[in-house]
Symmetry: C2
Subunit: 208 residues, 2 copies
Amino acid sequence: MELSEKAVPAPRRKTGRPLSFDRDVALEQAMLTFWAYGYETTSIVDLTTAMGVTAPSLYTAFGDKKRLFLEAVARYAGDSAAMADRIAGAATSYEAARNMLVAAATAFTGETTPKGCLLASATASGSADSAEVQRAVATIRGAIAEHLRARIEQDIAAGVLPPGTQAVSMAGLVIAVIQGLSVLARDGTTRAQLIDIGSTALGAWPRK
Amino acid sequence: MELSEKAVPAPRRKTGRPLSFDRDVALEQAMLTFWAYGYETTSIVDLTTAMGVTAPSLYTAFGDKKRLFLEAVARYAGDSAAMADRIAGAATSYEAARNMLVAAATAFTGETTPKGCLLASATASGSADSAEVQRAVATIRGAIAEHLRARIEQDIAAGVLPPGTQAVSMAGLVIAVIQGLSVLARDGTTRAQLIDIGSTALGAWPRK
DNA sequence: GATCTTTCGTATCAATCGCTATGAAAGTCT
DNA sequence: AGACTTTCATAGCGATTGATACGAAAGATC
């Protein structure tokens, strides 16, 4: 379960002038800004304004824009990792999928957070500069899909799901629907409608 | 069936020096560039390079970046409008949905076109500047969903689908899966896998 | 051919992009 | 206290952003 690799939060020297701001709070604000505007379309000024920090402080504390984004994604995925934990903990893969879909629909329509999914909204670009960013979010999606796939295989082996069940396709469907819900959430679709769509998707779940 | 409002291609004066380039070809290249890089992350230089046109020519022929994008989207949606036509023409709403999903999975993994969906990749940003762009692509998604919903209602009335069928949720699911397939296509998922996921989603279709 | 209209290529515009040089300030260390 | 280390705020770096001013060039109209 290493979705976020902890990314070495900071060396934290023993001497020198201490940070005048709360690093975690600033990172949280950066995450929300990236969540709202995406990676390339979030400017350093946007970040420094939201974080309440000057540009040099941002760079000394987080490296550069890309590393700040990756750290923000790791924090965001930390919440997703908790969701991934629920995959293993769920009674069945069906319930795991249902929990994921409902959690996604709820998170994507939060009132104190931007609409949609940070991972889905991160990159609209295929530029070489943001290739690493694209890989990072794709890796997280792949990891979540892999966890769900393994949980489905487990149900197949246990006889909860029919032998012919396509675990990869089922897991892929859940991920696709979740990312699709993010798009619809940005379009203004309500939480109730998103949950209905997620519930409808579960109709594709094989029954024994 | 007015998905793309034709957007007034150009006034086309009778006098003056004629365009030295093919406007349709240039628009096609602009569409492909936006498709690959998104709206905000596509620069004017990117466009002029791909279109083989200088910046002043681009502005005199297409207005500004936003109008060029909207016209490019209208052209892209023209292909989607053909897909929407197939909704009405399909024997059942199930086959309409199946055709849409397969067509999407195929288009999103084309070898001569960028990966994913232009509409899904257009905006990663919620900035005020691109609000109109976001509304435009959302409107197209809504129009396609509405066509499919109407086709589903038609099947319900004809007794092809059970009376309790949630047409809005079913149509929303198809749109969500299609937009999700775009994300997965960008991640590198193969065409075969995308088609499998689309086929799996159809398992949610109500049976009489 | 003269005139008019429009597009052409060249050379930019101000604004913003991500990022940093610089020296003063604020701490911890011996 | 004095030396050392790191962050602070100010100011600005070169590069790129979307969009144009300008005059020459190319065609239609008379």
